[in-house]
Symmetry: none
Subunit: 210 residues, 2 copies
DNA sequence: TTTTTATTCACATGATAATGTGATTGGCAG
DNA sequence: CTGCCAATCACATTATCATGTGAATAAAAA
């Protein structure tokens, strides 16, 4: 049974969602309040829910401020934002503060239900537009120059094999070359990187130093 | 009509997906090859598809390298990764390189279809586990809960030695114990982590999976 | 108290890795 | 055309690792 709490100041929306979720047999939603402050009061007195649906625009403290406070006291509560805002700042601030998902308010009730289930099983529900913005964030943050690999593409292949934990034999099989060729490449890689073991190559690679 | 291309070296999977997508009336999937190089050849000769499904582990150039090259020449193609890899590096590298979505290979055919539709209407499809890792990227401030290491502090010492690229002998010297003790610890570490080489331990550790 | 568990050490053996030496091929630059 | 270099392969030797088996001690848990 998943216990759910709601922080939302629009009474109609709040009641609608609460009734819908509480109706589900694998969920219970007994607490729905209209501010972070009230939710904090409630958490002190009763058992913490598993999931909190949280708006951003609220009377008193904003939902984003609330995330930090609630997660600090109750780190096991999963917080799912449910809001009309789709600007990058609010999205990122929410995620940095500790939200585990971000839905837009036009999301249908069954989709909200599905998102909550997704959340408790280790997922991170996001509306498609939100996911797009999150991904765009990575495309911009690209200007990270790599330290001039020096490695040829074949050598890089071999390094990837090592990082995947493969033996020389398995690397040879993967790229359909002989094990002696693998040896030869690895010799050259060691020279270029000034190392002398698989271990060091893997460490360098995973640290982004190649 | 959405035109789709596939780059995937497993013939069975490739044919399965191609046949399924091509069967949809609002989609066509006429090109399915097993390497980035072949796809680049195809793109030179024929009309570019709207969406490319791309594996990571491929003969020749990796799918991640391929993203950059393809997006540079054909920026309008949306690239959707479809792979077994779920480690943060491969996910982030793919997104930084320009992928618009990231699915794991166990995704069902109808979900793949849905993801493609989602993609062309401005979404960014991701498997739930992937979305979670992307979001965790933002939470780096907060100490992310580790997968319950199970390792004792001495074992963790040994792991650190491995990550530093030390041999058994050097680890023994560092902690002033015998090399056989190091062996014994490493045996136990392998059991706990279900691996059987230094390489895998180092990789797991540097990926934060310990 | 009895039983785990962490930590320590030893001996042994087959597997894998590291390193040396040398060689062939095909592409590219001077 | 010629030398350089990436990529391929072979053979050989020593070093290191992976794994099995066994065991002692002290501390923590049952």
């Amino acid at each position: 049974m998943i216990k759910i709490g709601i922080v939302e100041d629009n009474v109609k929306i709040r009641n609608l969602i609460q009734r819908y979720l509480d109706m589900q047999k694998e969920m219970s939603c007994s607490v729905a309040v209209d501010s972070v402050e009230e939710m904090l009061d409630h958490l002190k007195k009763f058992d913490a829910p598993d999931v909190l649906l949280m708006d951003i625009q609220l009377p008193g403290m904003s939902g984003i401020e609330g995330i930090g406070i609630i997660k600090k006291e109750y780190p096991d509560i999963e917080i799912l934002m449910l809001t009309v805002y789709h600007d990058s700042h609010k999205i990122f601030d929410s995620l940095v503060a500790g939200a585990s998902g971000y839905l837009l308010k036009h999301t249908s009730l069954p989709e909200i239900k599905e998102s909550i289930e997704n959340l408790v099983t280790g997922g991170a529900p996001m509306s498609p537009q939100i996911a797009r913005k999150v991904i765009q964030y990575f495309k911009k943050s690209e200007p990270q120059q790599k330290p001039e690999s020096n490695l040829t593409s074949r050598e890089q292949d071999i390094v990837n094999g090592l990082v995947d934990g493969l033996s020389y034999k398995l690397i040879a099989d993967r790229y359909d070359i002989s094990i002696d060729t693998v040896r030869a490449h690895i010799r050259n890689i060691y020279k270029k990187l000034h190392v002398n073991s698989k271990a060091e190559v893997i460490a360098k690679s995973l640290r982004g130093e190649i």
